[in-house]
Symmetry: C2
Subunit: 335 residues, 2 copies
DNA sequence: AAACAAAATGAAAACCCTTACAATTGTATT
DNA sequence: AATACAATTGTAAGGGTTTTCATTTTGTTT
């Protein structure tokens, strides 16, 4: 491996001068700079990031934490879209993303300890579950952080305007003439689930619509299966709804499967509206009317927030709420 | 930051002994080990990975390279599934995954140079395009590597049995009575595309079926749009096929859209079979008959292959071909 | 109690780099 | 020619760890 010492020897200058050239210091003669750069090129020198980070205490690495209840990791359509956008935005500034195993010589550590060990410059956390003590620990630490899909007063966060999304969803159904509107809710340990439920309840009240207790049914962790099961319960009601607002597209799709299986049609018999706008939604038949989460924007904002903290070298607390967009497609009809 | 020196001072032993305890050396008294471990606990000591890697030349990091022609990065359904599985398999041995930006102090570098700079222990490459000089450089280097979805005699590789997949697809259509079978092919710079085309041509010949020139139509980079366009061409033929074997599920879905749009039905008028088994395929209506790529297995095998090289500290060359599974659903019918 | 072997500990170098500051060289001013 | 000053270069310390090998301590045997 060729080091700055080799370059120094080859050019007759000292390692310090070589280092200065490599780091674009001003106080080095243009001729020597040229010579050194030539030698660098010729010998194929590459810096050593470990040595560099050791002394500068800067790793150019951002740790990523992925906590989702489905166990699908990077296959999670919302999370991977957000992270991809995030990655693109921090990449141009030279940051790498680290997906951590969390074990230091076979000992399992917390995310925080592990990231300290790795010396990351900051962390991006994508977490749906509300109460995860590892996430709490990260947010409360002095490590720059940005959390996606959660609210907090300890860390930068960015999330979609879930409450307003519920307003749009229900108001849209209302405008189509629906009055019996049910909600398949996300799990209550989930920030998004809670907020969407809250919005649903509020707007129903505001519109003067009644919410029978069994119009709110648990959709667990936003999976298709839970949507399917939830819809079966709604179908079994003596007074079933005419429209269903599902807290997630997968829930909505599961619900539509249940409706189809029961011999009914969407939107003819039941109108369905989802949340997320995953890829599937547009392709599904009928295509799903849904509230689009702006994943690119969320990733971008998260990147900005984190980079700000890293560049100013101090943790900050800031919230960005990203608006959602109602995507009107073909799963709802007027009555 | 607390270092081994602090532990040394606190316990009265030397840094060397502390280090030995931390690394589970045998030649240290149990009592001193206990004392040191207590101090470690009490002072909240954490090792410094940079210092460690600097001297041991081992980073416990695996670099990942994602090259796909759609520009969707981690949103790519096949790639993210494979990487997720890979991650799970290397995680248990303590390896982290690094998604690299490739810029060293604002200078853009090749993947190889960048990974040398970062001191990664190996790289996993997911690449569909055949001729990428950056990928070639990586494969030819002495850095342990495993490539997914490509063939090579310079690096470990793992890929699905594309040729056999084509056999299964066409034979299945043949067994349903189809004789006019067209192929929407993946781009020819693509290993998978080429192999699937090759298999298609071979099995058609073997079955004694003619392949009119215009039965093979270019599907570009496996996108839905290209599938849609390709199918339009097939529909415009004077003697259109009765069945279409698409080299990818997105192509197949695009094709089905074109069929539907032209006023025809699947499978009533046209049978369609895909390749991949992405999530969408099962949910689509009609659900898509396709060749399933075993993403978990591919990820697992890749992990094994790479870890082997890392553990034995020498690059090896080995190929694993993973069988595909025909998933019979409802997009094909017998005639 | 001596002699030796075995076990435990530590000193020091090494890994590769950055940076504060000292030393040197060059240039301008008187 | 002497001085002051700016520009350039180099010395050396330090970042936190591992590891070799010498040294010290402990234990065993006679």
């Amino acid at each position: 491996m060729v080091t700055i010492y080799h370059i120094a020897k080859a050019t007759g200058f000292s390692p310090a001068t070589v280092s200065k050239v490599l780091n674009n210091y001003e106080d080095v003669n243009l001729k020597t700079k040229k010579k050194i750069l030539e030698a660098v090129e010729e010998l194929g020198y590459l810096p050593n990031s470990h040595a560099r980070s050791l002394i500068t205490k800067k790793s150019w690495i951002i740790g990523v934490v992925f906590i989702e209840s489905l166990g699908i990791g990077m296959k999670h359509p919302f999370f991977n879209a957000v992270i991809e956008s995030f990655r693109q935005h921090v990449e141009v500034q030279g940051y790498d993303l680290l997906f951590a195993s969390r074990s230091i010589s076979n000992k399992q550590k917390s995310y925080l300890d592990y990231f300290k060990y790795r010396g990351v410059d900051g962390v991006v956390i994508v977490s749906s579950t509300y109460e995860d003590e590892q996430v709490q620990e990260l947010m409360n630490s002095r490590l720059p952080s940005v959390v996606i899909d959660l609210k907090s007063d300890k860390s930068c966060v960015v999330y979609s305007d879930n409450v307003h999304g519920s307003f749009e969803a229900v108001q849209y159904l209302h405008s189509l003439g629906h009055r019996k509107i049910a909600h398949i809710a996300g799990h209550s340990t989930t920030f998004a689930g809670k907020q969407r439920l809250k919005g649903y309840v509020e707007v129903m009240k505001k519109l003067g619509l009644s919410v029978p207790e069994d119009y709110i049914v648990d959709g667990e962790f936003f999976s298709r299966d839970s949507g399917y099961e939830a819809m079966k319960k709604l179908l079994a009601l003596r007074n079933p709804p005419s429209a269903i607002y599902a807290a997630g597209d997968n829930l909505a799709i599961g619900a539509m499967e249940a409706i189809r299986e029961a011999g009914f049609g969407v939107p003819d018999d039941y109108s369905v509206i989802g949340f997320d706008d995953i890829e599937l939604s547009e392709m599904f038949h009928p295509s799903l009317t849904t509230l689009r989460q702006q994943t690119e924007l969320i990733g971008e904002k998260s990147g900005e927030l984190l980079l700000n903290q890293i560049n100013t070298r101090q943790k900050s607390v800031e919230s960005v709420v990203v608006p959602v967009e109602l995507m009107i497609r073909s799963s709802c009809r007027s009555i």
